[in-house]
C-alpha cells in the first residue's frame, strides 16, 4: 500500500502566488490532517477533517483553506503566499478510533516563499 502520498515534494513560490498541496491516502481512513513543521517548533495543526464534506480549523489556519470531497483526498490551498508560510507541510490520516489512534504521515512538502 502507498499509505499517504503528498505532492509536490518541493516548491518555491513568489509572494502573492497561490498553490495547492495535494494529499491522498489509500487506507480508507476517515480522519485527515494538515500540519506544518518549523525548525525547533514541533508540528502545528492547520486543518483537519473527520470525513468527506467535513473540515475544521486547527491551531494555525490563517492563510490556508481545505476541502474534503472524497475520503481519499484532502488538498490544502494557499491563496496569497507569504514568507511566513515557508515551512514543511505534512499530511496525515488516522482511523476512527479516538485519542489512541496513531497517525500515518506522508513524506512532506517543503515550501519556500520568497
Amino acid at each position: 500500500n502507498a499509505g499517504v502520498t503528498q505532492t509536490p515534494k518541493f516548491r518555491i513560490l513568489k509572494i502573492g502566488q497561490s498553490m495547492t498541496l495535494q494529499c491522498a491516502q489509500d487506507m480508507n481512513h476517515n480522519y485527515m490532517y494538515w500540519y506544518r513543521q518549523d525548525p525547533g517548533m514541533g508540528l502545528k495543526l492547520i486543518y483537519y477533517s473527520v470525513g468527506a464534506g467535513i473540515t475544521d480549523k486547527g491551531e494555525v489556519p490563517n492563510g490556508y483553506n481545505v476541502s474534503r470531497s472524497t475520503t481519499e483526498d484532502f488538498p490544502l490551498r494557499l491563496e496569497l503566499a507569504a514568507p511566513s508560510q515557508t515551512s514543511v507541510y505534512f499530511c496525515a490520516s488516522s482511523d476512527l478510533t479516538g485519542k489512541s489512534s496513531p497517525l500515518h504521515f506522508g513524506n512532506g512538502t517543503r515550501l519556500t516563499v520568497t
Binding site: L45, Y48, A92, S94, G98, K99, S100, P102, N107
Partner: protein, 116 residues
C-alpha cells in the same frame, strides 16, 4: 489543558551505548502518549504508544518507553544505539476523550546523534 516537554533538544551517544530521550507531560485526564521518529526528508513514523494498559510499552526497532504517572514522564529508551537510529524524535500527548488527532500536542523534538 495538556502540554508536553522534551527535556533535550539534542542527544549524542556512541554506537552500541544506551539511548535515553526524556519527555514530561501534563494532562487533566488520562492521556494517551506516543513517540514518533522522523528520519531526514521523511514523514513521522509511530514508534510506540501508551493507552492505559501496561505501563512499559515496547515499540519497533528495540525502543521502549515507561509511563510513570507519579513523575508525569514517558521517557524513551533503547539498550544499544545503532547508526540507523539517528533521527528526530517527537513525544506526543492526547487527552481529548473520544477525540481524534485534533487533540494532539507535539513536543518540539529531540535530535538524536549517533557517534561511530
Amino acid at each position: 489543558a495538556q502540554s508536553v516537554t522534551q527535556l533535550d533538544s539534542h542527544v549524542s551517544v556512541s554506537e552500541g551505548t544506551p539511548v535515553l530521550l526524556r519527555c514530561n507531560y501534563s494532562s487533566s485526564y488520562s492521556p494517551s502518549l506516543f513517540w514518533y521518529v522522523q528520519h531526514p526528508n521523511k514523514g513521522l513514523q509511530l514508534l510506540l504508544k501508551y493507552t492505559s494498559a501496561a505501563t512499559l510499552v515496547k515499540g519497533i526497532n528495540g525502543f521502549e518507553a515507561e509511563f510513570k504517572k507519579s513523575e508525569t514522564s514517558f521517557h524513551l529508551t533503547k539498550p544499544s544505539a545503532h547508526m540507523s537510529d539517528a533521527a528526530e524524535y517527537f513525544c506526543v500527548v492526547s487527552e481529548e476523550p473520544g477525540g481524534g488527532a485534533d487533540g494532539l500536542t507535539f513536543g518540539k523534538g529531540t535530535h538524536l546523534i549517533i557517534q561511530p
